[in-house]
Each structure stands twice: as structure tokens, then as C-alpha cells.
Symmetry: C2
């Protein structure tokens, strides 16, 4: 038998009335006397297997009664429509074989603490909520890749090992690299994507990124996945439009392909259906004006005390309190653009008419999703770029190849980064970012 | 104007007879008197822009004559069919503006040394061969993901940071991980994929993998991309069939979508068209028999000398000389399976009828492509697995979570790993693996 002939629960409707064989694990079991109900999970869905004593051998019925949570089994039977069964079909069982009886499976239907669950992440993934989040994750990533692959972009993987830091060295992981000294793990593939964009036109890089930040918030992982498109001849306006189109595409894709998972997660679907495009946009200066019109202060830690500064001073970065206050009025993501030069990275293009701001944008999500996208038009003037590299005390020799991109056919170009786990957290409504990746890596967590 | 209205060279056929605007770089330029031919590349293709003095302003014509290799420009004109032009269309130019005149572009049409080119990798990517290989790379990866996404598999990313080693510690990169000691960079996502397969049924993990091997062959990178499917309820036979189906799918996809690139690379397409399925299969024992029937010895380095050992002794691993000799007879990849237990990894399933062999397989490619796939059915018996972990002196506490997968609903399962750069090298005919990834990382190379 070819592996292609295997039958999975999510396809049961195709086999209505037929005898099939299913393989999977016992999710739960209940029974009374001559009737046993085995709820089977096979990774694609849940199926109720009805085992009636009169229809199976004595051995099979005894085996069925012995089944425990997460025991692995093979079940044969006829697919029967039943409106009340999960998925709309159940199995009228004729045979059941045990691969292994599981004993003392640690995750029981009772409530477990967060720490216990994360220590058992390899098993926790089998629980219905985590299983649903992981399926949404796969769909979000597929949506991202399809969006770019079908829009003329070419995937160009940026390297993980880098000789230099894109955004400061204090938050970098490093490793000894043969006789070449230290290599750093990439925080962003952007600089390399700029090089490949000059070769391929429109590219995206999509891989792990690493930040050794000591933050313990619900939004940070030390290892996360980021997609970073980079486009020659795109200005900031094009960049924002692309980020908006991508976001709408992802949400619509999940709505179309993960309805069942969103139900399992009890996600309010109307919030996602509101993501239709025409996202609001606001310059940084306008956003500061909004803060002050609404009496939202800058909050700062000064001498161990939280201090509120009013009015919010132009030039300071927004933090979570300001972002969440601003976003309360919006049901779609909002772009903030034209940020102060001082608080943004060296590679961002200064506004020629007003060098105090750079052509940068952040896309904030609704429902306290935080920053989902950060991007900019890139500095394409070689002298201005070199000036910024020097001003930031970065090593010019490390960036020689990057400066080359402004020497040999420099063009206006833009790009952004989207943190995939943040997007998954927003779409699924997961309560902590560690639930959005199969094996989260955090300050205090590297096992399993 | 929306970014969606931008016109790219690969789509020119759609605009025949229309005025369009193209943006790109000067690949080459030639001219005589009143007629200049600018060969423009925009990342999607090459277009000849014909600039006739009478059709443009004096300034534009002077600018055109001043153009140098890799200068960045915007060109306006009418799309005209011309059979002899690359791509079948050319631009009858009405306007041309310069973004930047490039001076002394380092990569000229003359021959450059390998070392020079790799040091200028950020620019070398613009050359036609490298550009073609990178486009094939994007297509190979898209083919892999489409194959799995459309066959019921769910992407489940394995972590990069791991507390333990899957295949020995000597070839691992490590980093300080906060207060948790050392973390190692993953060599393989397999062990984690086994956990996610028990939750999702059929999964694949596809990300960077790291090997600190001091090999300087044409087939090794320290950082490479690997796709690793893992399937609950698949045996070794299913595993091989899946690897075969994947390989055929990738090759057919590239043949359909990268015809132009394969022509640029002067690849012998008939060799790829031969990849149709029904790959030959041979047990390890049969392969040893073949070596001895064909007088292929084991080659070993003993006391600083190369020694040939005849007959090839059962139990020794094949190396490049043996693999290439064996593969000369085949125009498709070949599976070797049922390897000696001693030379294979601890997690592979021992043959219950003959514990001296494990249910492992390698898929060797034709045309000296080497090992493209390595996989196995996994040990699903908890006692046998623990025995192997102990025998290999691995730390049992590190593998506690992995052993759990055999305690709680153990099932027969299988998987494999496919090194993407090896596949790209084979399909494109690239002479060195460093040409198959945008920014190759090797023992002596981490810049750019």
C-alpha cells in the first residue's frame, strides 16, 4: 500500500459509507457497558470511534476498555455520518489494535500551571489549543510565502552567521568561528536583502532571527522568525502599501483556511473580518499631537521611579502605554511614519526636506497586538550613509560591502520586517508569545 | 501610482505596443553614432533599450552615451517585438534618466579569480550565472514547500538553539545562553520534528542547520538549509517513496518554471528530464556485493598513507569514491537502505529480524551529486532507544523529553533530511556549493 492511500480524519467526508483504517492516539474515552466511545486524534482532526461489543471480537473489546489517554492505536471501521459527532462523521468500529498503551500521561484534563506545561512542551503540543495555534502558524507562514512568491518576489535567504551587528552588539549571541574570531547570530537579514534586491529586484528573506535581550515580556522570544521583503525602486509609500496588502492577505487566508482552528481558540472572528485594507496612517508628529490632545504622557524610569512627562516631547519614542492608547480607536492596524532621525537606525533614509526625520514606518496592530511591522526607505546616498555609520561608531570596514551598494548603481529602495510570532499571537489571540512557536526559546527556557 | 502598476522586464510581452517605464541597471551598452543600445537588467530579466538620437532630447542622448556598467536608470519607451532581442521584446526609448552613474564597477566582463568573486559576493549575485542559480534556488524551495503543504503536511519549525547534540558535539557551534550555560546551534531539527509529528501527524521543518566541520570540500557549508519531513505511521518503505516523490516534484517544477535559467546555466536538460520516478533501490549488503563484483575497494587513510582494502568489508561506510562508482550506472537517484547499525545514528530503528542493521536509507544523486537525502524509520521501542543512548555516552537527562515520545503513545514513524544546497548544486550544475546560497559560510569565509 502506498503512503498516499492512508486515510486521515480531516478527509473522512470523502469516505462516507466506506471501510477505512485510521491511525492515531486516544484523546479521551468514555463508555457504558457494551458501548465504548474512543475519541481518536491523528493530527489532522478528531474522530469518534464507536465500539459496540457485538461488532468486535472479545479481545478487541477488552483492549478498547483498557485504553488510556494518548495510547496509540489502529482502528478499522465504516465511516458513518453523524451530525453530533465532531467533524460530522464517526467510525463504526470493526477492529482496533493497540500500538502502545500509554501510562500516566502527564497532561491530564485538569488545569496545569504554565511552568509545568512549558516544561512538557513536547507533549503539550498535542492539546487542542496548542494544536490549533500550530496549525494557524503553518497557515500564516504559507500565506506569507504565497503572497510574495505570487507577486514577483524571489526568496533570498540571508545568512545567520554575520561578522557585524545591524542594531547594536549588546543584544547579540556570538559563537567562535574557526580562526576568524567571533561570529554573531543575525538579528535581521535586511542588510543582505538589500544586496540581493539589487540583483533580483524584489526579494524576501524569511528565517530565524536572534535577540539576546533580557526582556521577559509576553511579546519577546530570543529566537523568532521574521520575514523581510526588500524592494528596489520602492519608496516609503510603496513600502507601507505592501505591508498592508500582506497583512490583509494573511488574515484573509487564515479566515478561509483555519475556521475550525479559530473556533477551537474561541477567537472573535469579527475582529479579523474587519481587516480589509485602507489602514489608517499618521505621521509621528501627528501621533505626538494626538498624545497631547488626549493627555497621554511620556512615561520614563528616572532614578528608580516612574515619571510622567507632559506634554509628550517630540523626539521621544513611543512605548507600550502610548501605542495601546493610540490604537484603542482603531479596529485595523495603523501606520506611524516619518520618525525622528535620532531614535531610528542608521540605514534609514533622511527626509531631504527635513533631516530631523527619517522615512521610517511602524505598523501597530489592533487589540494590543503591538508593533507587527517595522520598515523604512533606505539611505541611498553614499555620503549620508557613511556619515551615519561613523556617527554610530560602527566599524566602516565591516560595512564596506554594504556601502558598495550605494556606490555601484544606488537606487531608491525600501523594505520592512514582520515578526511572525507577533502576527500569530494577534491572529490566534494566544495569551503569551511562547504559545506561537513549537519550541519557544526565552531567557530561562531552552528545554525541551 | 500603486507599486502594483510597476512594469518588470519579465512581463513585457503583456505591454507590447504600449509605452512603459522600466527601472534597472545597465548590464552592458554598445553603440555607434546616433544609435545606442542599453542592455538593462531589472532582476527579472534583460531588455535591450534602443536609444536613437532623433527620438530623445540632446541631454538624454548625452546621458545615454555616458552610461557605465551597473549605472542605475529609469527608461521610458514603447515595447516593440524583436525576435533577435533577449526576451523577444525591446524598448524604443523616448526618455532615460540616471539615478546614479556607477564608476569602476569591480566585476568586469573579463575573467576573475574565485577568491575575488566570493569576496564580492554582494555584487557577484548580479552576474547572469549567479542570478540564474539564485532564481532556481527560490524555485527549488518553493517546490519543496508546495509539495508538503499540498500533501497534508504542516510546517513545524524546530528550534535553532538546542541544549544537546543530535550527532556528536565536535562539529557544533555553541553560544553562551544567559545563565543556562552553553546552547548549541542545531545540526538537525529531526528530534523536535518527531515531537511535532506526534501532535500533527505529518510535519516538516525547514530552516538553517549548522555544522562546524572542518571540511573544505565542494559539498560543505557551515550554514546550510535543510528540509526534514517526519511522519507518524510511516515505515521505511513509505519514507523512501516520499523522498522519491519529492525529488521528482522538485525537478519537474524547476523544468517547468526555470527553463530560461537552465539555458543561461547551459544545463543539459535531458539529464533532468530523466528524473521520472521508480528510482533504483539496493540494500547496503547488495551495494557491498556490487563493490566487490566490480573490484571497488574500501579506501582508508592509515598511518598517513592511502590504503585500498579488498574485498570491501561489510560494515564499513561508503565514501565518495564508492558512491560515485556505484552511481555511474544510474541516470536517476538511487536508494541504499538497511545500513549496518554501527555506522548509523542512535535514533534509527533496528531491524527486529537482524539487529545488525537499521532501517536507514540514503538517496544518492546521479552525476556525482552525492548524498541528497538521508533518513530512517525511528526507534520506537523505549528500552532499545535508551540502550542506544547509553551506548553512545549521551546524557540521558538531555534526552528525557525525546524518550517521552516512546513512553506516551509510541508509534512507528519515519523521516528524512534533504540538504537544499546539494539539490540546487545538482539541478543547476553549479561547480561549487558556495554558488548555491546567497551568502555562503565556509571555514575561511564569513564576509560579506
Amino acid at each position: 500500500m502506498s503512503y498516499k492511500d492512508k486515510v486521515y480524519i480531516e478527509d473522512l467526508a470523502k469516505y462516507a459509507g466506506q471501510e477505512v483504517e485510521l491511525n492515531g492516539w486516544v484523546y479521551t474515552k468514555r463508555g457504558k457497558g457494551k458501548l465504548q466511545f474512543v475519541i481518536l486524534r491523528d493530527g489532522t482532526g478528531i474522530c469518534q470511534c464507536v465500539v459496540f461489543k457485538a461488532n468486535v471480537s472479545e479481545e478487541v473489546f477488552a483492549n478498547t476498555k483498557s485504553l488510556t489517554q494518548e495510547s496509540s492505536i489502529k482502528v478499522k471501521g465504516k465511516v458513518v455520518a453523524n451530525e453530533r459527532a465532531p467533524g460530522g462523521f464517526e467510525l463504526d468500529t470493526s477492529d482496533l489494535q493497540i500500538y502502545q498503551l500509554s501510562t500516566d500521561y502527564p497532561i491530564t484534563p485538569k488545569e496545569h500551571g504554565d511552568d509545568f506545561l512549558i516544561r512538557n512542551r513536547h507533549l503539550w503540543l498535542r492539546s487542542s489549543r496548542q494544536h490549533a495555534i500550530m496549525r494557524v502558524r503553518a497557515s500564516v507562514i504559507k500565506a506569507v510565502r504565497d503572497f510574495f512568491d505570487n507577486s514577483g518576489f524571489k526568496l533570498q535567504d540571508s545568512p545567520m552567521f554575520t561578522p557585524n551587528a545591524c542594531e547594536g552588539t549588546s543584544t547579540l549571541f556570538s559563537t567562535k568561528y574557526f580562526d576568524l574570531g567571533e561570529a554573531f547570530l543575525s538579528q535581521s537579514g535586511q542588510l543582505y536583502a538589500e544586496a540581493t534586491a539589487m540583483a533580483m529586484g524584489r526579494v524576501y528573506t524569511f528565517g530565524p532571527a536572534f535577540r539576546a535581550e533580557k526582556s521577559k515580556t509576553r511579546k519577546h522570544l530570543t529566537e523568532f522568525w521574521m520575514v523581510e521583503p526588500e524592494m528596489a525602486f520602492f519608496d516609503l509609500e510603496d513600502d507601507m502599501q505592501l505591508a498592508e496588502d500582506l497583512t490583509v492577505y494573511i488574515v484573509q487566508y487564515v479566515l478561509e483556511n483555519c475556521r475550525k482552528e479559530l473556533e477551537t481558540l474561541e477567537r472573535d472572528i469579527t475582529k479579523l473580518e474587519a481587516i480589509q485594507g485602507n489602514f489608517p496612517r499618521m505621521s509621528y508628529t501627528e501621533a505626538v499631537g494626538w498624545m497631547n490632545a488626549n493627555d497621554i504622557p511620556l512615561t520614563k524610569r528616572v532614578d528608580g521611579k516612574d515619571v510622567e512627562i507632559r506634554p509628550f516631547p517630540w523626539g521621544e519614542d513611543f512605548g507600550t502605554p502610548q501605542e495601546e492608547a493610540l490604537m484603542e480607536q482603531f479596529s485595523q492596524p495603523c501606520f506611524i511614519y516619518d520618525y525622528p532621525t535620532e531614535i531610528k537606525a542608521f540605514y534609514m533614509k533622511r527626509n531631504p526636506d527635513n533631516p530631523k526625520v527619517v522615512k521610517a514606518m511602524d505598523m501597530l496592530g489592533p487589540e494590543k497586538a503591538g508593533e507587527l511591522v517595522g520598515g523604512s526607505q533606505r539611505e541611498d546616498n553614499v555620503e549620508l550613509l557613511e556619515e551615519r555609520i561613523k556617527a554610530e561608531d560602527l566599524d566602516m570596514t565591516d560595512f564596506a560591502w554594504y556601502v558598495d551598494l550605494r556606490k555601484y548603481g544606488s537606487v531608491p529602495h525600501s523594505g520592512f520586517g514582520m515578526g511572525i510570532e507577533r502576527v500569530i499571537k494577534w491572529i490566534t489571540g494566544a495569551k503569551h508569545i511562547r504559545e506561537t512557536i513549537p519550541f519557544p526559546r526565552m531567557i530561562h527556557r531552552i528545554i525541551p
